[in-house]
C-alpha cells in the first residue's frame, strides 16, 4: 500500500507517536549517563536521581513567606499569566482579524500598522513598556499579548480575506450586511483557524511568558528557571521545562478537542 494511503488508527497513533519522544528521553539519559561516567558531578545533563533531589525541595517544602508549595505556586502564577495573555490575544485576534479580514478599507488602513507592530521585537522596547504599564502582572500579560497577537491577527486576517468570494456575494444576495457577513459567515468559519493559530501561538506564548518572568518577578515557572540558571541547576530547569511542555501539550490537546467537537464541519473529511 502506498504511504499516502496508510491511515493510522487513533489508538495506534498515540502509541506510535510516543516512540520518538521516548527515544528522545532515552537519548538524553544515555548522554547524561555518559557525562556522569566522566564527571560524576556533571551539572549540565543531570540524571533522574539528581532531578528528583533538585525538585524535592520545590515539591515538598512550603515557602516560608507564602506558606505554599513553591512548585505549585509557580505553576499557578504562570498559568494565570499565560491564560490571561492568551485569552486577551485571542479576543483581539478575533475582533481585529475579522474586521480587517472582511472589510477591505479597514485592511488597507490598519493592515500595515499590524505588520509594523508584528515585526517590532517587543523585548527591544521593554523600557517603554515598563513605563506605560509598570512592573506588575499587567506588563507580563501585555508582553505575551504583544508577542503573540500580531502574528495571530495577521494569520486570521489573511484567512478571512481569503474566504471564497462567492460566499460573500452569496451572503449579500441573501441580504446580509457587512456586520452580518462578519458574524455569520466569517466568524464561524474563522473559528477553527483561530484555534489552530492559538495552538501555534502556545510555544511563543510560553517564550514570552518566561522572558517576562525573567525580567522582573518573584514567582512563576520562568522566574524559577532564570533564578536557578545562575547556578546552572539543570536538575531544576529540566524538570520545569518538561513540566511546561506537558502543560502546553495538554492545552494543545484541549484546543484540538474543542475544535473537533465544536466545528465538526471543519474536520469531517466530506468527499
Amino acid at each position: 500500500m502506498r504511504w499516502v494511503n496508510r491511515h493510522v488508527r487513533r489508538r495506534e497513533a498515540v502509541l506510535i507517536g510516543a516512540v520518538p519522544i521516548l527515544l528522545l528521553v532515552l537519548l538524553y539519559l544515555f548522554l547524561a549517563a555518559q557525562r556522569h561516567a566522566i564527571n560524576p558531578l556533571d551539572k549540565i545533563l543531570p540524571l533522574p536521581g539528581g532531578m528528583a533531589e533538585g525538585m524535592a525541595n520545590l515539591l515538598f517544602n512550603t515557602d516560608q513567606l507564602t506558606g505554599k508549595i513553591i512548585f505549585w505556586a509557580d505553576t499557578f502564577a504562570s498559568l494565570q499569566r499565560l491564560g490571561i495573555g492568551l485569552g486577551i490575544a485571542t479576543l483581539f485576534t478575533l475582533l481585529i482579524g475579522l474586521v480587517l479580514g472582511v472589510l477591505p478599507p479597514m485592511r488597507a488602513t490598519f493592515g500595515p500598522l499590524v505588520t509594523v507592530i508584528a515585526v517590532i521585537p517587543p523585548i527591544a522596547l521593554l523600557p517603554i513598556l515598563f513605563i506605560a504599564l509598570g512592573l506588575g502582572e499587567t506588563a507580563k500579560v501585555a508582553l505575551i499579548v504583544i508577542g503573540i497577537a500580531p502574528v495571530m491577527i495577521r494569520d486570521i486576517t489573511a484567512y478571512v480575506s481569503g474566504l471564497p468570494r462567492e460566499q460573500i456575494i452569496k451572503a449579500q444576495t441573501l441580504g446580509a450586511s457587512s456586520w452580518q457577513i462578519m458574524i455569520r459567515v466569517a466568524l464561524p468559519q474563522a473559528m477553527p483557524r483561530l484555534l489552530h493559530a492559538m495552538r501555534l501561538a502556545l510555544g511563543p506564548a510560553w517564550v514570552f511568558l518566561i522572558s517576562a518572568e525573567a525580567i522582573a518577578s518573584d514567582i512563576g515557572l520562568g522566574y524559577r528557571i532564570f533564578l536557578v540558571r545562575r547556578y546552572l541547576s539543570m536538575d531544576v530547569i529540566i524538570p520545569y521545562v518538561a513540566w511546561i511542555a506537558l502543560l502546553a501539550i495538554a492545552m494543545d490537546a484541549v484546543l484540538v478537542l474543542i475544535s473537533k467537537r465544536m466545528f465538526p464541519w471543519a474536520h469531517g473529511a466530506g468527499h
Binding site: 566522566i38 551539572k43 512592573l135 525580567i215
Partner: protein, 337 residues
C-alpha cells in the same frame, strides 16, 4: 568528553570569557591592543578572549567547561563553579568594588526607609549580598523587604517605572539609575570595602597542566592596568577605548573607575590576597550564600572548602573547590614573568 581529559593535558589554545564591567574592561582592551597576543606568543600559547554579553551565561559556560577562565566576583566564584564541584583557582584579584554597587531608594534618603519596600535586584548575586549587609548595618531583618528578581540587562528600565521604589545594582547600570530624579543612593560597597572582589579565575586542573596560562594572564593584566593608569595621552586613549568597548563615554567610564579600587600594583594585590581579612570576608560571603541555599544540597556552610595563601583553608579541607592562588601575581610583583 574525549578520552584524554583536556583539563589535565598540556594544551596550547585557551578560551577566556569576559563580560562588561568597569573592572574587567582591561581584558578586551588588551586583546584589541595586541597585549594578549604579545604575552601568549611569549609563552607559546594562544589565548582567545571571548565576550559574553550576559554575565550569568559567561559563568555557566565556564562551569560547563567551554571556557578555561572567566571574569567573576568572589561570591559568584564560590557559589557557582565551586559549589557546583568545579575546582577553581582565583589567580588575579583585580579590584574590589568601592562604590560600584549600591542601594537606591526613591523619595527617601536613609537606608532604614527601605523597610517594607519591594526591592528590585538580581537575586542571589552580589547585589543581594550587598542588600543583606546593608540591612544588617541598618538593624533590619531580611524579611523587612521583599525582593523581586530583575535581570541585570533590564534593571535600568525597570527602575524607570514608578512601580519600582527601591533597587540594588552595580555599575554601569547603577550610575544611570542614580541619575534619575528623586533617586538617592543610601548605601554602597565603599561601606564594605574589600568584600566584593572582582577576579580572574581559571580551572585548577588546566592551570596545573599549563602554568604558562597563568603567567600569560598575569602578564597581560598588569601591563594593561599599568597602561590605563597613566595620565598621559596613551593612558587616556586606552581608557577611551575601554569606554567604547563598554558602550559608554570616557567620562562615564572614568567615573565608574573612580568607584573601583583597582589593584594596579601586583604587590598590593598579593597583600590583599594574603590578608587574613580575606578569610573573614569569604566566611561572611559563604554564610550568606549558605543561608540563601546556594550550596545546593550541602548540609553545612563548610561543605565547600576554600584555600588561601599560606595553606590556610576554610570549610571542608578535603573538598577544596575555590583556591586563592597568589603565585602568579607574586611573579608579576617580582618581575619574573
Amino acid at each position: 568528553s574525549k578520552a584524554p581529559d583536556p583539563q589535565t593535558e598540556a594544551r596550547t589554545e585557551f578560551n577566556i570569557g569576559w563580560s562588561i564591567y568597569a573592572g574587567w574592561m582591561p581584558w578586551p582592551y588588551a586583546q584589541q591592543a595586541g597585549i594578549v597576543k604579545k604575552w601568549a606568543d611569549k609563552y607559546g600559547i594562544k589565548i582567545n578572549v571571548v565576550q559574553v554579553n550576559d554575565y550569568v551565561e559567561s559563568i555557566n559556560q565556564y562551569t560547563a567547561g567551554k571556557f578555561d577562565g572567566v571574569t567573576v566576583t568572589n561570591m559568584d566564584a564560590l557559589t557557582i563553579p565551586a559549589a557546583g564541584g568545579k575546582d577553581t583557582s582565583a589567580i588575579i584579584v583585580g579590584d574590589y568594588s568601592n562604590g560600584n554597587d549600591g542601594i537606591l531608594l526613591k523619595g527617601a534618603n536613609a537606608l532604614a526607609d527601605i523597610k517594607g519596600r519591594q526591592v528590585y535586584l538580581v537575586e542571589l548575586s552580589v547585589s543581594h549580598y550587598l542588600l543583606a549587609r546593608g540591612l544588617e548595618k541598618a538593624g533590619l531583618k531580611p524579611t523587612d523587604v521583599k525582593t523581586i528578581n530583575t535581570s541585570d540587562a533590564d534593571i535600568v528600565s525597570a527602575f524607570g517605572s514608578p512601580d519600582a521604589r527601591a533597587a540594588v545594582a552595580w555599575n554601569p547600570q547603577l550610575s544611570v539609575m542614580k541619575g534619575q530624579t528623586g533617586v538617592t543612593e543610601v548605601f554602597n560597597s565603599s561601606q564594605i570595602p574589600g568584600e566584593i572582589l572582582d577576579l580572574m579565575v581559571v580551572d585548577t586542573a588546566t592551570l596545573k597542566a599549563n602554568p604558562n596560562l597563568g603567567k600569560a594572564l598575569a602578564g597581560i593584566w598588569y601591563e594593561t592596568v599599568a597602561l590605563m593608569q597613566r595620565q598621559d595621552s596613551k593612558g587616556k586613549e586606552a581608557r577611551a577605548a575601554m569606554a567604547k568597548l563598554a558602550g559608554t563615554t570616557p567620562e562615564s567610564f572614568d567615573s565608574q573607575l573612580s568607584t573601583t579600587y583597582l589593584y594596579t600594583d601586583p604587590k598590593a594585590a598579593v597583600a590583599a590576597t594574603s590578608d587574613p581579612a580575606l578569610l573573614k570576608t569569604m566566611m561572611q560571603v559563604r554564610d550568606f550564600s549558605f543561608k540563601k541555599g546556594l550550596f545546593q544540597g550541602a548540609s553545612s556552610a563548610d561543605a565547600v572548602g576554600m584555600a588561601f595563601p599560606g595553606a590556610k583553608t576554610l570549610g571542608d579541607p578535603g573538598h577544596v573547590m575555590l583556591r586563592f592562588d597568589e603565585s602568579f601575581m607574586k611573579m608579576a610583583a617580582e618581575g619574573k614573568l
